[in-house]
């Protein structure tokens, strides 16, 4: 039960984090009218992933392992690009924040409206196929014929769904916490946090592509701390879900992470350090 729960939690967490920060941002900047688009993006990603997963699970054709990894890897890289864009878009908006009305936060960003929905969609859809395949397999486990020690059981599905539910709850708590922050702090923290998340997504995508044999170096590890942080432990799960931390990281993954996080992080720091006027108190 616990293991399936943790898988659901891990797959759900990262999407929940990005979406909750997005929602918090829109609420804080008084653009609630854009929220339906976010939910539309999320809904679309969930729908497509589930449908696609069902077709592959129950239909006559499956997906080769390389293709599955290539899809996950490619979508990860696209997601990184969009999340990076979102970070800087939000921080640009942050610089213009002073005593002005929050409703004017991002006049310049009208083109960004639909991109926001896309960020939400990518955040959910990136691992959506893998999660969908997992959920359908769990559904199959409930309806299969008994054979030896293998008996039908709904336990995996229940466990996985509970995990996803908890991920959503955690996302909601993050949202609640983020909304309470004052705006400057909000942008600084969520931006910095998203950079680390995006670095993780990038590394994860690289690893997928290495497994598919599209990129080399799957077996040259930068470090392996699997004994200290077993990937199936609850803390290993949280680290993976939030930061995409992998206990056995290849050199290429580590390199990609550093090459992304350091310059983007510095750029972000540099931009957010530009003094803004008096921080606005948070809306209650």
């Amino acid at each position: 039960m616990l293991a399936n729960f943790l898988i659901g939690l891990r797959e759900g967490l990262e999407a929940a984090l990005v979406v909750s920060i997005l929602v918090a941002y829109l609420v804080k900047s008084g653009r609630r009218e854009l929220l339906p688009r976010i939910w539309a993006g999320v809904g679309l990603a969930v729908g497509v992933a589930l449908a696609f997963g069902a077709a592959l699970t129950f239909g006559p054709r499956g997906l080769t392992f390389e293709a599955q990894e290539a899809i996950g890897g490619t979508l990860s890289l696209v997601a990184v690009a969009f999340v990076t864009w979102m970070i800087f878009w939000m921080s640009t908006a942050a610089r213009g924040l002073g005593a002005e009305l929050r409703g004017q936060v991002d006049r310049a960003a009208d083109a960004g409206r639909w991109s926001l929905a896309l960020v939400a969609m990518l955040a959910v859809g990136r691992e959506g196929l893998e999660t969908a395949l997992f959920l359908w397999a769990a559904t199959q486990a409930g309806t299969r014929d008994a054979a030896g020690s293998v008996t039908p059981t709904w336990e995996p599905l229940v466990g996985a769904l509970l995990g996803i539910l908890v991920a959503v709850l955690l996302g909601h708590l993050i949202y609640r916490g983020a909304v309470r922050l004052n705006l400057t702090a909000f942008f600084t923290w969520t931006g910095a946090f998203l950079i680390v998340v995006a670095g993780g997504v990038l590394a994860y995508g690289i690893h997928d592509l290495q497994e598919a044999g599209i990129l080399p170096g799957l077996h040259s590890l930068a470090f392996d701390v699997s004994d200290v942080i077993p990937p199936s432990s609850w803390y290993g799960t949280l680290l993976k879900g939030v930061f995409n931390f992998s206990p056995a990281t290849t050199r290429l993954e580590a390199l990609a992470w550093v090459v992304y996080v350091v310059p983007v992080g510095l750029l972000f720091l540099f931009r957010t350090r530009i003094p803004t006027s008096r921080p606005t108190p948070a809306a209650s």
Binding site: M1, A3, N4, L6, I7, V48, F52, L56, G59, P60, R61, G62, L63, T64, F65, E66, A67, A70, I71, T74, V78, A111, W114, S115, A117, L118, M121, L122, G125, L129, E130, L133, F134, A137, A138, Q140, A141, R144, S149, V150, T153, E155, P156, G159, A160, E211, G213, L215, P216, G217, L218, H219, S220, S226, D227, P230, P231, S232, P247, A248
Partner: protein, 398 residues
């Protein structure tokens, strides 16, 4: 509005294109004839990895992996080197069954269950045997070509990695004056070079520095002799008349030079982007032919390892490399000239049987122990294989 549709369309395309390009047939699970042998059930518990079969005919295999343990598990099908991932399923939670579908050509594989998702996993050998309807899988020629190229690239990269690893060990032993250990490692390290010799030789600047034999060096023109065979002579000086062994400083010079060139070779083999090596299908086939020519011209004569006489290791490694290259293009060959594929299988088998007679311990006997007749028998087997092999390239590119 327009922005949205473009963006959505591009993302949707991203997701769907690879999917369409890379579909594979899901095997029907109603146990029809012939589908059965290719459907394997795997039971992964916390301590064991049980397969319903340890072999299957080549084609589209399905592994139904059920996790009966208490922890999350993964299942891998690995290539014969135990490194290359042919296929994997991850995130198999307790009580779940997940399916791995792979197109597997004939060859040796490993299966591995990884309870807890860490470590090497619980491994077992898995054999994929020849099958006449192998070509009946839903793979078009282009897919077979792509797969052959991807497989060969990972083989070359893997051998290069191992060569670098072993070379590091070897030069360290040599520099430390641990001659016995260095002598023992010498043929084992060189195996990896010999397996991909045709690729290594494509770098005209590195090959002479690394693999030149004394007879090939034009000392009169001021060429320097470096690399494996220079060190070989120093480790096996007993046949050399009036030879002065190298000083520790000289040893270090040659050792570091060999390691530097091997490192550079590995770097180029792993290059990506515009410097990446490409392996067109005709080059892979020609590589197989070229490796066998290496055997015929150098190993069979005992000229390659003039001082250590470890020629049979090189011989075997060349044959390994030739066979891997051939097996990579075999699925394609099977669709074009099945008779040639059968003949090559038989001839490779015959040559291997002959080579196996000269095994000793985990290696081979010294070349000097072979009688004239034995050398001739090996030579005949090589020639018998060379003839059909020379028809491989035109057959696969037709």
């Amino acid at each position: 509005m327009r922005i949205r549709t473009t963006l959505l369309a591009s993302v949707a395309t991203l997701a769907v294109v690879p999917a369409l390009a890379a579909c594979t047939e899901n095997a029907s699970s109603d146990g029809d004839k012939g589908g059965d042998a290719r459907a394997v059930t795997v039971t992964s518990s916390d301590v064991a990895c049980e397969l319903s079969a340890v072999e299957a005919p080549a084609g589209t295999l399905t592994f139904d992996v059920t996790n009966t343990g208490s922890d999350v598990t993964e299942f891998y099908l690995l290539g014969s080197d135990g490194l290359r991932i042919v296929g994997e399923v991850e995130n198999i939670g307790p009580n779940l069954t997940k399916k791995l579908t792979v197109n597997a050509p004939e060859g040796d594989y490993f299966t591995a269950c990884k309870p807890g998702m860490v470590g090497e996993g619980i491994r077992a050998k898995f054999a994929v045997s020849h099958s006449d309807d192998e070509a009946g899988v839903s793979a078009s020629d282009q897919e077979l070509i792509d797969q052959a190229q991807a497989n060969y690239r990972s083989y070359v990269q893997d051998q290069s990695d191992q060569l670098l690893l072993r070379t590091k060990e070897f030069v360290q032993l040599y520099k430390d004056g641990k001659d016995d250990e260095a002598r023992a490692l010498y043929p084992k390290a060189r195996e990896h070079w010999e397996r991909i010799e045709t690729v290594a030789e494509s770098f005209g600047d590195l090959d002479p520095k690394t693999d030149a034999r004394e007879a090939d060096v034009d000392f009169a023109a001021g060429e320097k002799w470096t690399g494996w065979h220079r060190i070989e002579k120093d480790l096996w000086p007993q046949d050399a008349t009036g030879y002065r062994v190298l000083t520790p400083q000289q040893r270090a010079t040659y050792a570091d030079d060999l390691l530097a060139n091997t490192t550079e070779l590995d770097r180029r083999i792993h290059a990506t982007g515009k410097d990446a090596l490409t392996y067109p299908i005709d080059a892979i086939a020609n590589g197989s032919i070229g490796l066998l020519e290496e055997v015929a011209t150098g190993k069979i004569t005992g000229e390659e390892e003039a001082w250590s006489h470890t020629d049979l290791w090189d011989f075997q490694a060349n044959v390994d490399g030739a066979r891997v290259a051939y097996e990579g293009v075999k699925p394609l060959l099977a669709t074009k000239d099945a008779a040639l594929a059968d003949e090559l299988d038989a001839k490779f088998g015959a040559l291997q049987e002959l080579l196996d007679q000269h095994r000793s311990g985990d290696g081979f006997v010294s070349y000097t122990e072979l009688s004239k007749d034995e050398v001739k028998a090996l030579s005949d087997a090589v020639n018998a294989l060379s003839e059909p092999l020379s028809r491989l390239t035109p057959a696969v590119t037709s």
